[in-house]
């Protein structure tokens, strides 16, 4: 437990060092693409003349000076599947981004969607020593949360305090300095498969980069694509990626649940490929150009050339109607959404006051998806795009990059996690030192 604590703390220190140097890279490792953004920090935010516009979610502090995307290789379901290929893909993306930024990047913050995330809600409470809550008390109450059995070979990815309660007052964001007797906290813990993270670490290390933080892509895409009131009132972000679909539920600006469905856009492509007997690349092209989920009578007349260079005239000249294509795509999309619905039900999403659902990610660009999703997930569905940040090239502003953009926001303003607080004092020899110091002060 201390090992994890230390390594996460080490990553936090690395992140601070990277902020000091002013340059940090963002690596969104997905199943269909790997995106690398290079951020430059401009120091503290300059005050604007106009009032009312806030800190823009902290994004005015940095700008993006390098961006590169590469086709992902060796990643399946958001997990490293083939080490060398993944390493090559990371290298390609990092090199291109460095070239654009014209600056060398040493620290990287990575996100990935796989590794079977599981959410746990933790609770802990302590009696306060003196009536004022100090940072030490917060650390103690976090340490007092009982650790669930997360299973063998699993690691903690996020452990965020989401709520504090002091005596009978709940819903405190920051209890420090308040007066009370009993401090209780709720913590959200996200565990993932350890080997996946280790593979990822290894890949990044092989690229001569230092990992300054890791995040779940479901979480970070929620940060970037949910607007502020959605995060406050309760919303779910469905990040439909290539290999997996991430689900994250937010309320009161904290993530309270995250999960992933191991299905995504690549499965739709492979369905098309199998159903129409075309290569994956052609299937991908047909999907993005002609795909949809609602067939109309017009679609019967729209014939799609499949092309090909097999040399067989009959095979290369085949045509398929758009209805047929939709007939292939729709069941898979429905399956994904049904699975998401099941996960949301398990999480108790229908108990939330506001049940906004935001679809984002590359696969959310299928025309008509919002209508289908509204039928399966509930009425309040919208398509989300990442918010705009400074210096972001036009090519990477689409919903497929909500994870990368969210990771930028995460890198600049990370949520307080368990390891951001010091180890409680009673586990520390500092107390005896303090006592000795006090003795000196009293007697001299």
């Amino acid at each position: 437990m201390t090992d994890l604590y230390q390594s996460q703390r080490a990553m936090r220190n690395m992140r601070r060092a990277a902020m000091q140097r002013g340059v940090v890279a963002i690596l969104d490792i997905g199943s269909s693409k790997i995106a690398c953004l290079v951020l430059r920090f401009d120091g503290p935010e300059r005050r604007r003349d106009a009032d009312g516009v806030g800190s823009m979610a902290g994004q005015s502090q940095f700008r993006i000076i390098g961006a590169a995307t590469t086709r992902s290789r060796g990643v399946r379901f958001g997990e490293v599947h083939v080490m060398n290929e993944t390493e090559r893909a990371i290298r390609t993306a990092v090199q291109a981004a460095q070239k654009m930024a014209n600056v060398r990047v040493d620290h990287v913050i990575a996100s990935f969607s796989g590794a079977e995330p599981r959410s746990y809600g933790l609770a802990g409470e302590i009696e306060l020593q003196d009536s004022v809550v100090t940072e030490q008390d917060v650390a103690r109450v976090l340490a007092a949360c009982d650790m669930p059995d997360i299973g063998h070979g699993r690691e903690v990815l996020h452990a965020q305090p989401v709520n504090f309660a002091l005596d009978h007052r709940s819903g405190l964001g920051d209890p420090r300095g308040q007066i009370g007797n009993r401090l209780a906290c709720d913590m959200h813990l996200l565990s993932i498969d350890a080997t996946v993270v280790q593979n990822l670490f290894y890949c990044i290390k092989r690229c001569d980069l230092e990992l300054a933080g890791i995040a779940s892509s479901a979480y970070v895409s929620g940060i970037s694509s949910l607007v502020e009131d959605e995060q406050e009132l309760g919303a779910a972000c469905i990040d439909m990626g290539g290999g997996s679909t991430g689900i994250s539920i937010f309320i009161k600006k904290h993530m309270i649940y995250a999960d992933a469905v191991r299905m995504g856009g690549d499965h739709i492509t492979s369905d098309i490929s199998k159903g129409l007997q075309v290569p994956m690349a052609v299937a991908e092209r047909i999907k993005t150009k002609h795909g949809g989920v609602h067939a109309t009578s017009m679609d019967d007349r729209e014939m799609i050339e499949m092309g090909g260079d097999s040399g067989d005239w009959e095979k290369d000249r085949r045509q398929v109607s758009r209805t047929e294509l939709i007939g292939i795509m729709r069941p898979r999309v429905e399956e994904i959404l049904e699975e998401v619905r099941a996960r949301l039900d398990v999480a108790g999403f229908d108990h939330l006051p506001s049940q906004q659902i935001v679809l984002t990610g590359g696969a959310s660009q299928i025309p008509g998806l919002d209508g289908l999703a509204a039928r399966i997930l509930g009425q309040r569905v919208r398509l989300g795009r990442p918010l705009r940040i400074q210096g972001l090239p036009q090519a990477v502003t689409g919903p497929a990059f909500s994870g990368a953009v969210g990771l930028c926001l995460f890198a600049t303003h990370p949520q307080d996690e368990w390891w951001d607080f010091d180890i409680p004092a009673e586990k520390y020899p500092a107390r005896s030192l303090k006592r000795a110091f006090k003795w000196f002060k009293d007697n001299w």
Partner: protein, 312 residues
């Protein structure tokens, strides 16, 4: 729970290549850089390395190659002689040769002295003439107040001299020097008769207060025909010596005013034409006269003071 770091227990997966190696149609190729290329690019983006490569390396190569080439004594000598030859061929071109020396504003003896002092063996290249040193050397001559040396058109070295103008003759023992208004020595004269037009001063330190002497002489304008000179006494004050060995002892401070007062007295009482040896003006309150012995006797007789007719 283990730490979230890449542990040493990682094993290479057996499958290394799954992705189709042939490029699928319609896919943009973005080949991965090799490890080496990637590292080189990162190295090149390191600022220190960049500066080292773009400034340090060329500088080192230039210095190193130059050093190796110059480490041979023969080559060094050859280089030196070549450089010297090139310099000489340029310096010996007729455009740079100085063939004449023209001195303006100097009297004949000074002209001669300057020519001797410079000792130029013309014609000479202007590269070999140190004009600043020449100017400094000419300036050391007493008679020269200001000098300007330049190489003009047509290979003529022009020396423009402003001579000092002597205004006083200073007798110092047997030697007679000419002084300019600041008291600086201009030249020597052999006899007083050489410059009868200039007033004479004498005594140690007289040259240091030449301007005061000039003021006194200007003030003594009515008695100029009788004036023989000024004597500096004890480097402190002036004596004015007139003919008939008359002396006027001026005070150390404000001698010009004392002189004017004396002249006023002289005009009123005709003092200086009487048989007076000295007029002592050193005390402002009480000018004192010393009469000649005969005049003193006459005065006593006139006053009825009978003195014994003896030397005692």
């Amino acid at each position: 729970m283990r730490a979230v770091t890449a542990g040493p227990h990682y094993r290479e997966p057996p499958m290394t290549r799954v992705a189709a190696s042939r490029a699928a149609p319609g896919l943009r190729r973005d080949p991965a850089p090799t490890r080496m290329a990637y590292r080189m690019q990162r190295l090149w983006l390191t600022p220190v390395f960049r500066v080292l490569m773009r400034v340090g390396l060329p500088a080192f190569i230039i210095v190193f190659v130059g050093g190796v080439w110059l480490s041979d004594a023969e080559r060094r000598e050859a280089l030196n002689s070549t450089m010297l030859g090139v310099r000489n061929t340029v310096a010996q071109r007729p455009e740079f040769m100085v063939s004449a020396l023209s001195i303006s504003g100097a009297s004949a003896p000074l002209d001669k002295a300057i020519r001797e002092l410079l000792g130029l063996k013309l014609p000479l290249s202007s590269f070999d003439i140190d004009l600043v040193a020449a100017q400094a050397r000419i300036s050391t001559l007493d008679a020269v107040e200001k000098v300007e040396v330049k190489v003009g058109v047509g290979g003529v070295m022009e020396v423009t001299v402003t001579e000092r103008q002597p205004v006083l003759v200073w007798r110092r023992g047997d030697a007679l020097d000419l002084l300019d208004p600041t008291g600086r020595r201009v030249a020597q004269v052999l006899a007083r008769a050489d410059r009868p037009d200039l007033p004479l001063i004498a005594g140690e330190g007289a040259n240091l207060v030449a301007d005061e002497a000039l003021q006194i002489i200007a003030a003594a304008e009515p008695i100029i025909p009788r004036l023989r000179g000024l004597v500096r006494m004890g480097e402190r004050r002036w004596d004015v010596v007139l003919d008939r060995n008359q002396r006027i002892l001026l005070p150390a401070d404000q001698p010009v005013r004392a002189m004017e007062r004396l002249l006023a007295l002289d005009k009123a009482e005709d003092l200086l034409s009487r048989d007076v040896l000295t007029v002592d003006l050193r005390s402002q309150l009480r000018p004192t006269l010393r009469l000649a012995p005969n005049a003193l006797n006459d005065l006593r007789v006139a006053k009825g003071i009978v003195t014994a007719e003896s030397d005692l």
